[in-house]
């Protein structure tokens, strides 16, 4: 650009400033008014109401019910409980079938094959007992619940229910000092926190957007649903009689999810009164019409877009993790394996917060993907307790056809109901996965806020589990 143009550019800005003073501060409103007036005139000319207006408006009748003061919240909770109940009860059988097939049938075949070609024991260990078993475990644990949960959730989304949830929550969000649209980014977070963090772009004010980013991790993401569902099924559900077990387990998962929502509000409140002080902005939320979901298309896209994608991510992270676990269990320093040394180191801290060293190590291994927390815990537990008859050898992720087998393992690891409850709490309250942390850094462009977003939930997790453990031990 030449200098003459620069000079004129400054002239333009000067003129604009002068004119702006002349026309006054209400320019924006005046212009918006003009646009609205024109739009209204044009619309009137081309829209005609054909015949009689519909007497009965189904949409607004449904809205009156699902957003009502009395029914809104109970309906919302009941609906989500139903989704989880269907997921938990529906996933049991296919999960067991997959586990039997991948672990009982395929695994021995692979071992025989390796033996027949004379594969070195350590290579056989890393590849088949480490990588293959970890992957098979993740697939059999995660695929069935996800294949049920995601289509159901997507159907609710396509039907138009999610904006109603946002509508119900909007008022609480505002009262907690945050933006009402945070309800929507939180809903996204229930699918994936990284996606939830990106979706905070719909929030205009930087202050409220930061609050939404920092608290998004309290929306239980799909990497953590399987952990919650599994632990709830084998510990909480087992407390109830058989025919109620599924229901009780679903209720426990809903309770944890709701706790996450409550903590979101509490954190909003605390953040907006301390490091992120400011005014709450208003916005208008449009309730879209209910649209009958296109069921087949929804099933297809939720399978491809969500289930397979999430599963793939889990597999990608589980495979190397399997190798690492096998190696750490078989590499010995001074007669004790590496894994055991780390576990012994973490144990005092773990016990203080009602968990143990195994669980803490599993959460460290699972930083890239929360999905592999449970498989890692089980494998490490067998390793440290020297449980026999279940694992095929040191560092092997073994077969578990039923919840009761899992239960017997973790009980051997010294687990109590407190361990299960605190594991569920800690899974809700700990640092986001590495993908989410990276996304937060990209969205905020600030190392400071990324650090806060990573450490704030972790600190909260330690605090909560510590208090629960101490109070529990006081009464037990």
């Amino acid at each position: 650009m030449n200098s003459a143009q620069t000079a004129s550019a400054n002239d333009i800005l000067a003129l604009a400033q002068k004119l702006r003073r002349e026309i006054g501060a209400d320019f924006h409103e005046k212009f918006v008014e003009a646009v609205y007036k024109d739009a209204s005139q044009i619309a009137k000319r081309s829209v005609r109401m054909a015949g009689e207006k519909a007497h009965f408006n189904l949409d607004s009748m449904i809205d009156r019910i699902v957003t009502s003061r009395i029914c809104g919240f109970p309906l919302m909770i009941a609906l989500f409980a139903l989704v989880f109940w269907l997921t938990i009860t529906g996933a049991n059988v296919p999960s067991a079938m997959l586990a039997t097939f991948l672990l009982d049938t395929i695994h021995p075949i692979l071992k025989e094959l390796a033996a027949s070609i004379g594969m070195a024991w350590w290579l056989d260990g890393i590849l088949i007992d480490g990588v293959y078993l970890a992957t098979a475990w993740v697939v059999s644990v995660m695929l069935p619940p996800m294949a049920i949960f995601f289509p159901l959730f997507t159907l609710l989304e396509d039907f138009g229910y999610l904006p109603r949830v946002a509508f119900n929550l909007d008022n609480i969000f505002k009262k907690s000092g945050a933006h009402g649209k945070q309800a929507l980014s939180m809903m996204m977070g229930f699918g994936c926190n990284a996606a939830g963090v990106i979706s905070t772009r719909i929030i205009d004010s930087p202050r409220e957007r930061l609050i939404a980013i920092i608290t998004n991790n309290f929306a239980l993401c799909n990497g953590r649903w399987p952990t919650q569902i599994l632990v709830a099924t084998i510990f909480i559900g087992a407390l109830a009689p058989d025919h109620l077990a599924g229901l009780i387990a679903a209720a426990a998962v809903v309770a944890i999810a709701l706790l996450g929502v409550l903590i979101t509000f509490a954190s909003n409140w605390a953040l907006s009164r301390t490091i992120l002080r400011g005014k709450v902005s208003t916005f208008s939320l449009e309730l879209p019409p209910y649209r009958p979901p296109r069921i087949l298309q929804t099933l297809y896209t939720s399978m491809i877009d969500r289930t397979i994608k999430v599963l793939w991510r889990a597999v990608v992270f589980a495979a190397p993790a399997g190798a690492v676990i096998w190696l750490s269990a078989n590499l010995q320093i001074g007669g004790i394996s590496l894994a055991e040394q780390i576990i012994n180191f973490l144990n005092p801290l773990g016990l203080l917060i009602g968990l143990n060293g195994v669980i803490l190590l599993a959460f460290l291994v699972a930083i890239p993907a929360n999905e592999i927390v449970i498989p890692t815990i089980l494998m490490l537990t067998v390793l440290t307790t020297g449980l026999s008859g279940l694992g095929a050898g040191t560092g092997v992720m073994f077969e578990l056809e039923s919840g009761s087998a899992t239960l017997s393992i973790v009980q051997a690891g010294g687990w109590t109901l407190l361990t299960a409850v605190n594991l569920m709490l800690f899974s809700l309250l700990h640092n986001p996965c590495s993908t989410t942390i990276y996304t937060i850094f990209k969205e905020t462009g600030s190392a400071k806020w990324t650090t806060i977003a990573a450490l704030f939930p972790l600190g909260l997790g330690f605090l909560t589990t510590f208090i629960v453990a101490q109070v529990w031990q006081l009464f037990a």
């Binding site: 650009m1 333009i12 604009a16 005609r48 009689e52």
Partner: protein
Amino acid sequence: MEEQDNHIKNQSPEDCEGCPVHSAANLMKLGVDMENWDYVVALAGNPNTGKSTIFNALTGLRQHTGNWPGKTVSRAVGGFEYADSRYKLVDLPGTYSLLATSLDEEVARDFILFGQPDVTVVVVDANRLERNLNLVLQVLEITDRVVVALNLMDEAKRAGKDVDDRRLARDLGVPVVPTVARYHEGMGELLAMVDEVANGKVVAKPYRIKNEPPKLRDASAQLVRQLQSVYPGLPNPRWVALRLLDGDERIIRAIQDGELGDLSQANALAVKPAADLSLEVLG
């Protein structure tokens, strides 16, 4: 496809033979494979009007669609080939206006202004026409090369509304195509119209906002004169003037660092701008 098109226009099969829409069958969905495109098409519109559904129908991609506003926050890019031209299609975040401050509105606005798409398709909810037209009028202030997709015609009909697309096209001064994207109705007509606008076969006389107070009109006229003398090729001086009067920081910056000057030069030389250069607003 043709059957559904007939359903909209109530044409007899013979009418179809001679009409360019008939060749809609030669749409080739290119997915994300869209190197060496001839034209760039932007998809704008209010939230939840079906932009992503149209995007998927044309590109064969499966960008997630959901029934809630604010689902697309960044741009999605895909491609298709139609009537021997290769098109790059950009799905913009849904916005109610192009005036405001939020990041998604800025993404949409900056792309329409600085990305200089060859055609901007504004997807409009036929059932909520008045509110949707606010955005159309603002887009028309920025660019002439607009096709309005009057989507969700089925919902409007169910609500007992009869929307006269021809009247609307005459009032807005740009082509209007009725569609039901969910069931792929009207996609052929939409493609044909996009193609005609891209090739310059349709010349628009876009509506300009008229109901502004006289004081405002005089002020913007003054600024427009000066803008035109400095940036002779600028395609939308009036809109830039209005934004300056509103104290829009982004536009002021564009003038200071010469981005606006580049825009006017690119236009004056009739060189096809590299539409991707100014795109990376969000990285």
